[in-house]
C-alpha cells in the first residue's frame, strides 16, 4: 500500500487514538506514584527520628544543683555506635550542648537552627561532609521550677544515604514496572486491533476475489456488524445476476420470436411460387433484417466488464469450442489445436468470452486451408490470446474496416461481416484489445489481449 493508504487505514487511526491516552496515563500515574513514594519515605523517616526524640525526652532529668542530664538507657543502641549514621544531641537554649551521641562528636555535625519553644522541624541537610542527613529538631519549654521554664532543643540526625538509595531503588522498580506494563498494554492494543480488524481485512480480501471473479458471493463468516454489509452486497450481486439473466432470456425470446418467422419467409420463398427476382429481393431483405437483429442482440446481451463479471478458464472453453467446431466443420477435415495452460484465467463474463472465442475460431475455420491454432500466453496482468489459420489472410488495407461496426469483408461467408465487429466490442467492454495481424506461416492471426484473473 502506498503512503496515502497507510495514513487512511483504520488500524493506524485506532492505534494513534489509543496510544495518546495510554501514554498520558503512564506519565501522570508515574509522576503521582513517584510523589507518593517520596512522601511515604519522608514520613517514615520523620516518624523514625521522632520516635528517637520521644525516647530522649523521656530520659531528661533536671536537678537544681547539677542542671540537666540524661538518665537511663538510650532509646536505641544505634545511638551509641558510630557506624549506624544515627546521631543526636540535646541543647539548653540554642547553642549549649549538654548531651550528644558519640557520633555527633566524631563527625562534627552542625547545630540545629534556632527554633521557637514548642516548634519542631524536619528537613534534609545537604552536607558536603561527611554525608547528607535527615534532621529532626524539637524545642521544648522545660519547667525547672514553678512558672520557670528553660528551653531545651533536641536534634536527631540520620545519615540519609540509605534513604536516598531506597527511594532511587523504588523509583527504578516503579519505572521498569511501568515500562513492562506499558509494553504489555501496547502489545495488547496491537493484538486487539489486529483481531478486531481481521474481519475487515477478510472482507477486503473476499471483495478482491469477487472483483476478479474468483468467487460469486461473499461467503465468509463475518461478525454481526459486517455480516449485514456482506448480505447486502450479496443480494445486490444476486439481483444484478438475476437481472442480467432475465434480460438475456428476454433477448433470446425476442431472437426466437423474430427469427422463426424469418425462417418461414425464407423457406417459403424457396418454394418458387414468386417470380425469381422478387423472391431474391425479399430473401436479401430477410437476410439484412436477420443480420441487424443478430448484431444488436449480440451487443445488447454483453455483460461487459462490470464488477464481478466472472473468471473464465480459457483451456476448458477452447476445448469445448474445439469439439464443437470439429463437428460443424467436419467435412473440411481441419486440424484444430490449442496450446493453453490449465491455469490461465481471464476476467470476463463467461458468455461474452464464449462469443468472442467462438466467433474468432469459427472465422478461422471458415478461412483455414487445413489448420487452426489457438494459443494463450500470460503477460503480467494480461493474457494474450492468438488465433491463427493457414488461409489467405486478411485482405490488405481492410483490416481496419473489419473490426468496425457492420462492415463485411466477404458477402459470401455468412456471419463473417458482423463477427469481428462484435468480437472487438465485447473485448473492449471487458477492458481488452483486439488486433488483426498476419500469421508467421501466412494466413490470418487475431490477437486478443484481456485482463488476467
Amino acid at each position: 500500500m502506498p503512503e496515502a493508504g497507510r495514513r487512511n487505514s483504520l488500524r493506524g487511526r485506532l492505534q494513534a487514538a489509543g496510544t495518546l491516552p495510554i501514554l498520558a496515563f503512564f506519565c501522570i500515574g508515574g509522576l503521582l506514584l513517584d510523589q507518593a513514594v517520596q512522601r511515604y519515605a519522608e514520613a517514615s523517616m520523620r516518624q523514625q527520628l521522632e520516635n528517637i526524640f520521644y525516647g530522649l525526652i523521656s530520659l531528661v532529668e533536671y536537678h537544681p544543683d547539677h542542671g540537666f542530664r540524661l538518665q537511663g538507657a538510650l532509646p536505641t543502641p544505634a545511638l551509641g555506635a558510630l557506624a549506624t549514621g544515627l546521631s543526636a544531641r540535646v541543647l539548653v537554649g540554642d547553642r549549649t550542648t549538654f548531651w550528644e551521641s558519640p557520633s555527633m562528636q566524631a563527625f562534627d555535625l552542625p547545630l540545629p537552627e534556632e527554633l521557637a519553644q514548642g516548634q519542631d522541624r524536619f528537613r534534609f541537610l545537604d552536607l558536603t561532609a561527611p554525608a547528607s542527613h535527615a534532621e529532626y529538631a524539637y524545642a521544648v519549654a522545660w519547667e525547672v521550677a514553678p512558672e520557670s521554664f528553660v528551653k531545651l532543643t533536641f536534634q536527631v540526625l540520620q545519615a540519609s544515604g540509605d534513604y536516598h538509595e531506597q527511594v532511587r531503588n523504588t523509583r527504578i522498580l516503579l519505572l521498569s514496572g511501568a515500562m513492562t506494563l506499558g509494553i504489555l498494554v501496547f502489545a495488547g492494543q496491537a493484538l486487539m486491533l489486529r483481531s478486531g480488524l481481521r474481519p475487515l481485512r477478510e472482507i477486503a480480501h473476499d471483495l478482491h476475489a469477487l472483483r476478479s471473479g474468483e468467487s460469486r458471493r461473499l461467503e465468509g463468516a463475518y461478525p454481526d456488524e459486517i455480516q449485514e454489509l456482506a448480505e447486502a452486497l450479496n443480494s445486490l450481486m444476486d439481483a444484478r445476476e438475476a437481472q442480467l439473466q432475465r434480460y438475456r432470456n428476454g433477448l433470446a425470446d425476442l431472437a426466437h420470436g423474430l427469427k422463426t418467422p424469418l425462417s418461414v419467409i425464407r423457406t417459403s420463398l424457396e418454394r418458387g411460387r414468386l417470380p425469381r427476382e422478387v423472391a431474391q429481393d425479399l430473401d436479401d431483405q430477410a437476410g439484412r433484417i436477420n443480420e441487424l437483429i443478430e448484431y444488436h442482440l449480440q451487443r445488447a446481451r454483453a455483460a461487459g466488464g462490470a464488477f464481478g463479471a466472472g473468471r473464465v478458464e480459457l483451456a476448458r472453453l477452447a476445448g469445448q469450442l474445439q469439439r464443437t467446431l470439429l463437428k460443424i466443420h467436419h467435412e473440411r477435415h481441419l486440424r484444430i489445436e490449442y496450446e493453453i495452460a490449465d491455469d490461465v484465467f481471464v476476467r470476463m463474463d463467461g458468455q461474452d468470452m464464449m462469443e468472442v472465442l467462438g466467433n474468432v475460431m469459427d472465422n478461422a475455420c471458415k478461412w483455414a486451408r487445413s489448420a487452426v491454432h489457438v494459443q494463450a500466453t500470460p503477460q503480467d496482468a494480461e493474457v494474450l490470446l492468438r488465433v491463427r489459420d493457414d488461409g489467405p489472410g486478411f485482405p490488405a488495407g481492410e483490416r481496419a474496416h473489419l473490426t468496425q461496426r457492420g462492415v463485411r469483408a466477404d458477402e459470401r461467408t455468412p456471419g463473417h461481416g458482423f463477427g469481428l465487429a462484435i468480437v472487438s466490442e465485447l473485448v473492449e467492454l471487458s477492458g481488452g484489445r483486439l488486433e488483426l495481424a498476419d500469421a508467421p506461416e501466412g494466413g490470418a492471426e487475431v490477437r486478443i489481449t484481456l485482463p488476467a484473473a
Partner: protein, 226 residues
C-alpha cells in the same frame, strides 16, 4: 431415408416436410418434444432435424434422451438462439451439426445430406461401389460413367442400399425407411420395385450385385473397383 423433423412453428414444419419429401425422403414431423422423443425412439429414423426452442420438453433434452437411449442417427439442431454457448451445449448433448435460423432450405439439405453420407461411412456427396456411382446431390446413378435413369422411388431404394452396402437389409426395414407410416405397406410392391432396379443394374444377370436372400431380405454386394 426417414427423417424426423421437430419444429414448433407449423408453417416452418410444413415447408421443411415438403422440402424433404420432395427430395424423396420419408418425413415424420412433430411440433412437441415428448412426441418427438417417442418417434425418435420407436421409429426407424435415419436422421433428425430438431429445433431447440420447443414448448414443453426442450430440444436439448430430446437429444440427450435419444442419445441416452442409444439412438445414434445424425441430429441437426435448428435454433434462433445463436449464442456459442447454445451451439456448444447442443453439440455436446449429442447433436452433430448446427444451423441458425433463418436459413435457406438449400443449406439445410446440403448439411443433412452430408450428415447422412457421414453416417453411411462416405466422405463425399458421391457414393461409390465398384462401377456404381450415386450422386446424392444430383440424385443421379452412373454405372461405368453412364447414367442409369431411376424413378424417385427407385432412387430412394438405391440410396438406402448404397448407404448399407454389403449388409443384409430386411423387407421390413426397407418399407419402414422408404414408406411413410400411413402408406400401404405391400411387400409385393417392394418386390416388384427390387425386380425393376435389378433389371436396370444387372440387365444380363451376370454380376448378381443385388441379391435376394430368402426370408432375410436383400443385399447390395460390395463390388471391386472397376
Amino acid at each position: 431415408m426417414r427423417i424426423l423433423i421437430v419444429e414448433d412453428e407449423p408453417a416452418l414444419l410444413e415447408s421443411l416436410s415438403e422440402g424433404f419429401t420432395r427430395d424423396g425422403h420419408v418425413v415424420d414431423g412433430s411440433s412437441e418434444g415428448t412426441e418427438a422423443l417417442y418417434m425418435g425412439q420407436e421409429y426407424p429414423i435415419d436422421a433428425a432435424v430438431i429445433d431447440l426452442g420447443l414448448p414443453g420438453m426442450s430440444g436439448m433434452e430430446v437429444i440427450r434422451e435419444l442419445r441416452k437411449a442409444g439412438r445414434d442417427f445424425p441430429i441437426l439442431i435448428l435454433t434462433a438462439r445463436d449464442r456459442w454457448e447454445d451451439k456448444v451445449e447442443g453439440l455436446e448433448a449429442g447433436a452433430d451439426d448446427y444451423l441458425a435460423k433463418p436459413f435457406h432450405f438449400e443449406e439445410l439439405r446440403a448439411r443433412m445430406n452430408a450428415l447422412l453420407r457421414r453416417a453411411g461411412g462416405f466422405a463425399t456427396p458421391k457414393l461409390k461401389n465398384g462401377p456404381l456411382e450415386l450422386d446424392t446431390a444430383a440424385h443421379r446413378l452412373e454405372m461405368d460413367g453412364e447414367e442409369i435413369k431411376l424413378t424417385t422411388f427407385e432412387y430412394r431404394l438405391m440410396e438406402y442400399l448404397m448407404m448399407n452396402v454389403g449388409k443384409v437389409v430386411s423387407k421390413l426395414e426397407l418399407t419402414e425407411h422408404l414408406y411413410p407410416d400411413d402408406a400401404e405397406r405391400d411387400s409385393n410392391v417392394l418386390e416388384v420395385m427390387i425386380g425393376r432396379l435389378r433389371r436396370k443394374l444387372d440387365p444380363h444377370r451376370d454380376t448378381q450385385m443385388l441379391e435376394t436372400l430368402r426370408g432375410r431380405g436383400y443385399r447390395l454386394k460390395q463390388l471391386a473397383d472397376a
